[in-house]
Amino acid sequence: MSGSRLFVVCLGILAAATVSCIARPIRPPATAAPPEDGQWVMPAKNFASTRYSGLDEINTKNVEKLEVAFTFSTGIDRGQEASPLVVGATLYVLTPYPDILYALDLTKPGAPVKWKYEPRPEAAAQGVACCDVVNRGPVYGDGRIYYNTLDDHTVAIDANTGAEIWNVKLGDINIGETMTMAPLFAKGKVFVGNSGGEMGVRGWLQALDAATGKTVWKAWATGPDKDVLIGPDFHPFYKMDQGKDLGVTSWPPDAWQHGGGNSWGWTSFDPDLNLIYYGTGNPGPWNADMRPGDNKWTAGIFARDADTGAARWFYQWSPHDLYDHDGINEQILLDIDWQGKPRKVLVRPERNGYVYVMDRITGEVLSAKPFAAVNTSLGVDLKTGRLRMNPQKAPQVGKVVRDICPAAPGAKDWNPSAFSPRTGYLYIPHSNLCEDLATAEVNYIAGTPYVGAQVTMKAGPGDGHRGEYTAWDIAAGKAAWTINERFPVWSGTLVTAGDVAFYGTMDGWFKAVDARTGKVLWRFKTGSGIIGQPTTYRGPDGHQYVAILAGVGGWSGAIVAADLDARDRTAALGFVGAMRDLPAATTKGGMLYVFRLP
């Protein structure tokens, strides 16, 4: 072969190889992620839960000029976990207990309050809220704003006038039940779940009719199949999740009645498959010796028919959970080329420390790679689907087991990640924490905590940093870059078409980083630590705004929000042990900050 022909052939081979290697870019399904309209109508931005904005006025070149456009004080100084919603020219802010909803008029300078709605929840509900009296936000749909109150009401408010349209009571604080999650609105229904995994409350998820508030269906997380809405359509992928009445037989007699499994986190929806996806929380009590068995259907993920609630499949992230690793985090619905074949997947950065990529039609785990320091488990067995536990870190009654990683809040707690189709990265705000754990027998007394464990947390491996912001390359299955933070990163995050990602730290810095490289491009010191979810919208003047609530609290910030005593390292279920320096770094607050370019 002549030299030039050889060259051409080599070039051709190279081109063919390159073409076959370039997979189609990872994208959310089109029906679950409609094109950008400048609003932010649900906390997750869209049904696929990407938290990605198509607005690009703010980009990597100009974000350093970002300045405060206006502020708003909520008047409540507990943990602010909500996401500011924008529908049309109105911005909706939801405070923690007493769960006041404010509507701000964006057309007027300074965004004055248009109206406010006060549900007046019961004051005694504050005594049964495990992790500060937070509320993770409202949702908009069909001209109404829906949200949950701490004392187990779901309300629907007219989005224009602020009038209460309906108000239903779904639970009982007397058994320790509260509601803190942000509902999902889809197909004329509002999906809500309860909290109380630390109080021995049996978990459920309900679909309410959006117009009237009446319950369309209710699925429990434990108990017989008919309570869990498991029927002939139920086909779990793995053998460990198959069987009759597992919600009863995988528990000691009657233990499932106060078994936890609360759905206090995030729900996603696939309109093509008509399936909702959501996770169930930890089993109760934390002392696992009191509940031998796999404890179905806690610490797992359900796929259910959105209309009837009938379960389609289930996968248990942490069977017989030992560490309070709730399975309620967000799941991002994506269409991806997996090993050459196009697949519909969901990606979940899970509390037990792994990024799961799962087939969202069948429930098969395609990959599970650790994104943080993990010694409680040795990986997921992809054949059986089961998490392989490390017996050396198993808790034993009467003994103290030390240096368990990740700690009870997991590698990542409820605060949601974001996905950018431009970079293909999943932006994960999370923690680097380990703990010492001693379990003991506990009495079940309805309305009091049902935990049975003493925990004290500490920084994970490294230089003592307790938080991390990781850009996870989904296709490669590993981190692209990580920013270490002093405190756990407990805020949500957002990423834009301008290739800017936003997140906040617990000592009050709101940061903008380059979505490709992780370089911090801009930061602003707010009045209090940030645990809220940033959102971005196009204002009435056509410009892009970024909104965030600042006000430290939540489980991680309880030492400040509730004035706890740092000398007891087991306070706040062990978090105080890792956050004794937080009161020196931030005080309480409750302020909305909205930024724009000058």
Partner: protein, 341 residues
């Protein structure tokens, strides 16, 4: 003391002591494999040591009563007679050798007894987890299927002829599990689980007690082992798995209501009701048990009433407090709890 009176005392006392043991709680009346081995060890030790003791006493008596000849009395004390010394040396030497041999023999016997007790353990054995508390026994029957776990208190049922492994742990201080007719003692040490195997030959009820001082009411911490034929045992097990019987009649309903709204609900479990306390014994089938308060009282209505009315007068220092109930409420609770078979 005259020799005859002292002799009478020496001979009658042990007989009286032995006669105080009734058959169901007596190491001298074994009904289990472990206890039989232990008894044979006890008897061999006792007989050998008695013989040795008699010989030593005879030697001592001989030494005390031996008359000294005048010649010996006048001899200087440090002077020795080599022939007599040789004799003494031989005697002492052989006594020491005999002692060593006997001790070694007893040690070997003890070793083999322990070995045969340990050999009772098999793989597919019924396992009962017993946790000692002040001053009651928590009993938990394990099963491959967690929904077949039985939690009870103070009474263990075992099938006759099958070895049963008892796993022992303590929730507070050191206790000791001792059912004399069935096995030797095994300590329950907090943080260090141990185990003992029971193999009972004859159906019946056997009583045991805590054998390590564990506090004020150590003396009132008895455990009952009921050995049943395998079919009766299976039936018992099935009955124990069921939830508590619902109250029948107005008084029992009132009793359940009072139970759930006063202090009882903080510490006790009755499966099938919202009561889920684990600090005190599980009461789901309490009336099916032989005794009350770790066999301090019999399981009768009157005893139940006395116990619930004021546990501190029956068992002062027990962790169960006196809950102030009016007479009607007390009768209702007694009726309800008494119905939980």
């Amino acid at each position: 003391m005259k020799p005859s009176r002292s002799l009478r005392f020496v001979c009658t006392a042990p007989v009286l002591l032995v006669a105080g043991c009734s058959e169901w709680q007596s190491a001298l009346h074994p009904y289990g494999e472990n206890a039989r081995t232990t008894l044979s060890l006890i008897l061999s030790f006792a007989i050998i040591c008695t013989i040795v003791w008699i010989l030593v006493m005879l030697a001592l008596a001989g030494a005390l009563l031996r008359r000294r000849s005048n010649a010996e009395g006048l001899r200087p004390p440090l002077e020795t007679d080599p022939r007599r010394e040789r004799g003494f040396t031989r005697m002492v030497g052989s006594a020491v050798a005999a002692t060593v041999l006997i001790l070694v023999g007893l040690t070997i016997a003890s070793f083999f007894a322990g070995k045969s007790n340990a050999a009772l353990t098999g793989k597919e054995m019924l396992t009962v987890r017993v946790t000692g508390h002040q001053w009651w026994w928590e009993v938990r029957y394990q099963d491959a299927s967690p929904s077949h776990t039985i939690i009870s208190a103070n009474e263990i049922h075992v099938p006759v002829g099958e070895p049963v492994k008892i796993e022992l742990d303590s929730g507070d201080v050191i206790h000791s599990f001792w059912v004399p007719s069935l096995a030797g003692k095994r300590d329950l040490i907090p943080g260090r689980p141990s185990e003992i195997t029971l193999l009972v030959d004859k159906p019946g009820v056997y009583r045991g007690q805590c054998a390590e001082f564990c506090g004020y009411q150590h003396a009132h911490m008895a455990i009952t082992v009921v050995a049943q034929r395998p079919d009766a045992f299976d039936a018992w097990r099935k009955a124990q798995l069921a939830d508590a019987v619902p109250p029948a009649g107005a008084q029992q309903r009132r009793g359940q209501q009072v139970f759930l709204s006063t202090g009882c609900v903080l510490c006790h479990t009755i499966r099938g009701t919202p009561a889920g306390g684990t600090s005190g014994p599980d009461l789901t089938h309490v009336a099916s048990r032989q005794g009350l308060a770790a066999d301090t009282l019999p399981m009768t209505r009157g005893a139940l009433g006395a116990w619930i009315a004021d546990p501190q007068s029956v068992k002062p220092g027990a962790k169960m407090p006196r809950v102030d109930l009016g007479p009607d409420d007390l009768n209702a609770v007694v009726a309800y709890v008494g119905s939980l078979k």
